[in-house]
């Protein structure tokens, strides 16, 4: 196994110069996720469009290893400004990639298109101890998005009641 398969240049670039970093307003939900085995942490906010169809913004502060820091940066590139359905597809594809245990056949062309820079994490899936690092930001996004959607639904219900 060689280390460059995990630490691809693209990953190190995102680690050194993370995209979409910082915590911004407004937001619909904020979550704090940790990886207790190594101390990686991320605080992440999600802002959905008023009709809930689009991911308007994802902002975050994170502390952790290069893999977790780069992964959250790459993730924001893939979801910010995208239709929620498309972002969720990317999430599912990334999860599948991490579960592939380095099986290169698992990555089909459709996923490559969907995952863009995130395909660089394929090598990480060979290292069981690091998969959690790569997933931290994605899990936080999924959680925050679910909360934002639920909050939206709650608001809609209230609006209907008051109507």
């Amino acid at each position: 196994m060689n280390l460059e398969s995990m630490y691809q240049e693209i990953i190190l670039d995102h680690y050194r110069n993370p995209h979409h970093r910082g915590l911004r307003d407004p937001f619909d939900a904020e979550v704090h996720h940790v990886n207790p085995t190594c101390g990686d942490e991320v605080t992440l906010r999600v802002r959905l469009a008023d009709d809930g169809s689009t991911v308007e913004d994802v902002s975050y502060e994170s502390l952790g290893c290069s893999i977790s820091m780069a992964s959250v940066s790459v993730m924001t590139d893939l979801v910010v400004g995208k239709p929620l359905a498309r972002a969720t597809e990317a999430y599912d594809a990334f999860l599948a990639l991490m579960r592939a245990k380095g099986d290169t056949g698992a990555l089909v062309e459709a996923d490559e298109e969907l995952l863009e820079d995130a395909v660089a994490f394929e090598g990480v899936s060979k290292y069981p101890a690091r998969i959690k690092c790569a997933l931290l930001g994605w899990m936080a996004w999924k959680d925050a998005t679910a909360q934002a959607v639920a909050a939206d639904a709650g608001r809609d219900a209230m609006t209907e009641e008051s109507a």
Partner: protein
């Protein structure tokens, strides 16, 4: 803890031949450099043989049955207790309770102190621990104080990685019922001064519990000289198998405390309504115990005793001194914990510039160097020193100066790999 000058030198090359795992190659052709001994030690052939012999020839349940194997198994199990008692200078083998590990030993103590009774905790009582405890000596006390309404307080740490005992008399008060502290920190390497803590705790009538998990494997441990009331340690960090730990307690105290787990083995007489309990130590050993593991621990104790704990300690002090000196030559490296071998064990935590320990450990692993990265089950220590985690190299009786050199060369490789922007002093 002991005079170093009198210790006979350890023949490290000979010792290394006893440990099959040290002959392993990893990632193809890399010799294993095993520096994760604070997590668990490797096992010598003598311990592996004892386990094999037990299962191959003597396997039976203990303390019951009148057949040959049952008697042999019982003799081996109780023989291991005798060996452990001598190893820590217990007054008698009945003071040695076998547990699963240190964690279970500490939970045993905290749980039985949560019962009503003369020693039982309640509202207004205080338990005192320290900020450098392993989670296994924090969480059990959080659980029992929350359950009983007692209060948990702790000693904080100095910038040098020592206990701040400057206000000892106001931290340990007349309300303090238990003082529980680690003898040697698994993350900082600090050796704590038991005399001061024991003196003050006993002055106010508090029980003293000592977590000796990182002490028993590395230095002579004399529980009577220590002056504590209860001492916990684990077998797998001292060349023994996993699944076996020890709680030592003064006999009178063990007799006074209520049982922990109920079941077979720990009883004297059972009726449908109530039971009476076996004498110590069996009162605390419900169910079929870890027999093979105890036998393996006995073999580990024999192995360490034959080498001499003074010699083991002297060797580790030498390696640690060399490691501290060499590590501090690495640019941007910061030791988290005491920077000299004065009152210090063989676990050395450090930060390499801004590099995350997980990345450091990953690249070292590729070179065959096994270190631990993370918060080492001592997250409050990481918070105290403002690091998310540390990289930790921890040495044992079989480590060499050449392995320290390999670590240092590995760290320089790590810095080149991630580039100066990430690894240097930014």
């Amino acid at each position: 803890m002991s005079p170093l000058v009198t210790a006979p030198a350890l023949d490290v090359e000979k010792v290394r031949k006893d440990f099959p795992a040290l002959e392993r190659l990893v990632h193809g052709d890399r010799p294993l450099v095993y520096l994760d001994n604070a997590a668990t030690s490797q096992k010598p052939r003598q311990v592996l043989d004892a386990l094999d012999d037990y299962y191959a020839r003597h396997n039976a349940n203990v303390h019951r049955g009148i057949h040959v194997l049952a008697e042999e198994a019982t003799a081996l199990y109780e023989g291991a207790r005798d060996k452990v008692a001598r190893f820590v200078n217990a007054a008698e083998p009945a003071e040695i309770v076998f547990t699963k590990n240190s964690t279970e030993a500490l939970n045993l103590v905290s749980n039985v102190l949560g019962h009503a009774g003369p020693r039982g905790l309640g509202p207004g009582d205080e338990v005192v621990i320290t900020e450098m405890e392993h989670h296994s000596n924090i969480v059990p006390w959080q659980l029992v104080t929350q359950r009983t309404g007692a209060t948990l307080s702790w000693f904080s740490l100095t910038d040098e990685g020592r206990l701040d005992l400057s206000r000892i008399d106001s931290v340990i008060t007349e309300r303090t019922k238990v003082v529980s502290f680690v003898l040697v920190s698994n993350i900082l390497g600090t050796v704590n001064p038991p005399e001061e803590l024991v003196r003050r705790a006993h002055e106010v009538g508090a029980l003293v519990v000592v977590d000796a998990s990182q002490a028993a494997p590395h230095m002579p441990l004399d529980v009577q000289a220590l002056g504590a009331d209860l001492v916990a340690f684990t077998g797998h960090k001292m060349c023994g198998p996993t699944g076996i730990g020890v709680l030592w307690g003064r006999r009178g105290l063990l007799e006074e405390l209520p049982p922990f787990l109920g079941g077979g083995e720990m009883i004297e007489m059972v009726t449908m309504a109530t039971s009476t309990y076996a004498a110590v130590p069996h009162k605390f050993e419900a169910g079929t115990p870890p027999i093979a593991q105890a036998v393996g621990l006995g073999a580990a104790v024999d192995y360490l005793t034959a080498l001499g704990m003074d010699a083991v300690h002297a060797h580790e002090q030498r390696i640690t001194a060399y490691a501290l000196e060499r590590l501090q030559q690495v640019e941007g490296l910061r030791i988290i914990g005491p920077a000299t071998t004065d009152q210090r064990g063989a676990a050395v935590s450090f930060a390499v510039g801004d590099l995350h320990p997980h990345d450091v450990g990953q690249v070292l692993d590729e070179l065959g160097i096994a270190v631990r990265v993370g918060h080492h089950c001592a997250r409050p220590v990481c918070l105290r020193y403002g690091v998310p985690a540390t990289t930790r190299a921890s040495f044992y009786l079989y480590n060499t100066e050449a392995e320290v050199d390999a670590l240092v060369a590995g760290l320089e490789h790590v810095q080149r790999f991630f580039g100066p922007a990430a690894g240097g002093a930014r």
